[in-house]
């Protein structure tokens, strides 16, 4: 079973990497880009086949390692 995890900065937390991308896009001539936010996308290949157990395990991984829950949100999508 695969799990896709999105880790994004919480709204209100400054995102210098996103800002840098926004400026770079502008200097390349792409107008009309209001805001850019960059997050992480993590694909996990799990041996677990039970969706409920898999979600629980990935939830624990996010809490302990994948996300800094003080400033980041995470979203878990189980695939297949």
């Amino acid at each position: 079973m695969k799990a896709n995890v999105h880790v994004t900065l919480k709204r209100g937390v400054l995102d210098p990497q996103g800002k840098a991308i926004g400026h770079a896009l502008q200097s390349l001539g792409f107008d009309g880009v209001d805001e850019v936010r960059q997050g992480k996308f993590i694909e996990l290949d799990l041996a677990e086949t039970d969706p409920e157990a898999a979600r629980k395990a990935v939830e624990a991984m996010c809490q302990k390692l994948l996300a800094n829950t003080v400033i980041e949100d995470y979203r878990i999508d189980l695939v297949g």
Copy 2:
């Protein structure tokens, strides 16, 4: 209109960041994680309202800046 862009390493390209996460998960006691791949997730807030024009613009942004198309794939999802 919002666009979500996933930038991921092509299959076959070594992903040291993903490997590091995999090892860290294992040393934290999370067994049963076979492979980990890390990519980027970029949220763009666009002034453009026409989906076709928006997709074309984001496609150009990916080609020129957001992705290194030699080693990375990208996926564009338009939202709202």
